[in-house]
């Protein structure tokens, strides 16, 4: 459910709220204001939280497992009681040393060579979604690229990899709305939302126990850690992580990239005319429109560059803000599709580097390629036709685009 009851924010330096609708909507301007005036902002909301926007601070915190725990990574009003060392969603909620072995279980399924094999299926999925759109009248037809295209690509892929019915995708989106978009809801509602996810996954996992498949649920049911089968909570938590992490994030950066192309016709034209530009363009979209902000909890009171971090405080890791830091990136606020040196942190830094990064990149590239191949010219239908998400994952949840040019898939020619 979309929470519209977030109290207004008077001062983003001392009372920030990243779940307020204005945060994602005005993110780029907001981060630059904070970078100049208060690079480690604070709030009393959520029981106390910090927002460091500079790359070096984010990097330092991401690497520091002595002072910061990954016990929970989505900021909420409660401090969930989670079974250590597994956490609610291993390995993202795990700390070393457990983290290392839990992560290694999943890495091979997401290795670049493994993921490269998915390209034909992803391309077929993108084309199928484009084929399902209503008849296009160039210059007139408006589509919602978020709901009718972007959302379906990562959902289709990850559901199959995990072994969940793709037809349940609306349910998956409702889980995300509850857990990410509704992160500032009262504890009882958040707990109920978590229980809904758990109940659903328990049923799916049980079905796999009875009838094994060639997918990640069966893989985890058969996996061993230190010579023993995985704890059922571990299996369920990892599946929840892969499902939720695999949808919202990729969908978001895909939508943001299409938003960029819709609002920067020169860039769209350049990308259509120079397909070889896609390699650097993808990395630049990931830098400029990074979807994911993670978080940590402070383990013990300590001073962080003059700020009194208290035990139990949240510390957000806004990788998107770090990726726009002019101290690290030349022309940080300009999207340069041919940017050759781009060591962005869209997939995090350190031991929790996103396991799905190879898959995300492949989905992003193929989905953009297919979209602009089919629609070489498009624009925002209206300024009101964009609605940004709420919470730690940023992307358009509504993206109304007017299609101005359409290539017939059969002939490859303008229709």
């Amino acid at each position: 459910m979309n929470n519209t009851q977030t109290p207004p924010v008077a001062d983003w330096t001392s009372d920030f709220d990243h779940v307020h609708p204005d945060y994602n909507k005005n993110a780029h301007e907001l981060w630059e204001t904070l970078r100049g005036s208060c690079p480690v902002a604070h709030t009393q909301r959520y029981g106390g939280a910090w927002l460091p926007v500079n790359y070096e601070h984010v990097r330092e915190i991401a690497y520091d497992t002595e002072h910061f725990t990954s016990e929970a990574v989505i900021v909420s009003t409660d401090r969930p009681v989670v079974p250590r060392p597994i956490g609610a969603a291993p390995p993202i909620t795990s700390d070393p040393p457990f983290h290392t072995t839990a992560r290694r279980l999943l890495l091979p399924a997401f290795s670049p060579k493994k993921i490269a094999g998915f390209e034909p299926d992803i391309r077929a999925l993108c084309r199928a979604k484009l084929d399902e759109l209503p008849k296009i009248e160039p210059g007139h037809t408006v589509i919602d690229a978020a709901i009718q295209y972007a959302m379906h690509i990562p959902v289709g892929v990850i559901a199959r990899m995990i072994g969940l019915p793709v037809d349940d995708k609306d349910l998956f989106v409702s889980f995300l709305d509850d857990l990410i978009g509704g992160a500032n809801l009262p504890q009882e509602q958040l707990s109920a939302a978590r229980d809904r996810v758990d109940t659903y996954l328990d049923i799916q996992i049980e079905a796999h126990r009875r009838q094994p498949q060639d997918d990640l649920i069966t893989y985890l049911l058969n996996a061993e850690l230190d010579g023993k089968p995985l704890d059922p909570q571990h299996i369920r938590g990892s599946i929840a992580l892969l499902l939720l992490a695999g949808i919202d994030t990729t969908w978001s950066v895909l939508g943001s990239s299409l938003w960029h192309l819709a609002t920067h016709p020169q860039d769209l034209k350049r990308l259509v005319e120079n397909p070889a530009l896609m390699e650097t363009a993808i990395e630049e979209f990931l830098r400029a429109y990074s979807p994911a902000t993670m978080a940590r909890l402070v383990i013990d009171d300590h001073d962080f560059h003059g700020h009194a971090f208290k035990k139990g405080d949240w510390v957000l890791l806004p990788f998107p803000a770090a990726n726009r830091d002019p101290a690290v990136f030349e022309n940080a606020h300009t999207v340069q599709l041919d940017r050759a040196v781009n060591r962005h942190a869209a997939f995090g830094l350190g031991i929790h580097r996103c396991i799905g990064s190879n898959l995300a990149r492949l989905e992003l590239r193929v989905a953009i390629e297919e979209f602009i191949q089919r629609f070489p010219s498009f624009e925002l239908a209206s300024p009101q036709g964009v609605t940004w998400s709420v919470g730690q994952i940023r992307g358009p949840r509504q993206l109304s685009l007017r299609i101005n040019q359409y290539n017939d898939p059969g002939t490859g020619q303008p229709a």
Partner: protein, 79 residues
């Protein structure tokens, strides 16, 4: 401008710090002729590609694009 038939006076090598490598795989995707990855996403240099003139630029690019600063590029004098 250098004469095409003259060899440059330096070669190069790169080293990957395995502890810093987190499997972003930027190196592998930028220069698969030069890098390989294992099933856990750890990057490795292909020994036969090390020091080749035609791969120097790719090697420098890969070094500059590693988010973990795990790659070290070293100019070396040729034998």
């Amino acid at each position: 401008m250098s004469n095409d038939s003259q060899k440059p006076s330096t070669s190069w090598r790169i080293e990957i710090d395995a502890d810093r490598c987190q499997g972003h795989n930027r190196c592998f995707s930028l220069a698969p002729q030069l890098f390989d990855v294992d099933e856990f996403g750890q990057g490795f240099v292909r020994p036969e590609a090390m020091g080749l003139d035609e791969l120097r630029e790719r090697a420098e690019l890969a070094t500059a694009n590693c988010p973990e600063f795990a790659i070290r590029f070293i100019d070396t004098p040729s034998a």
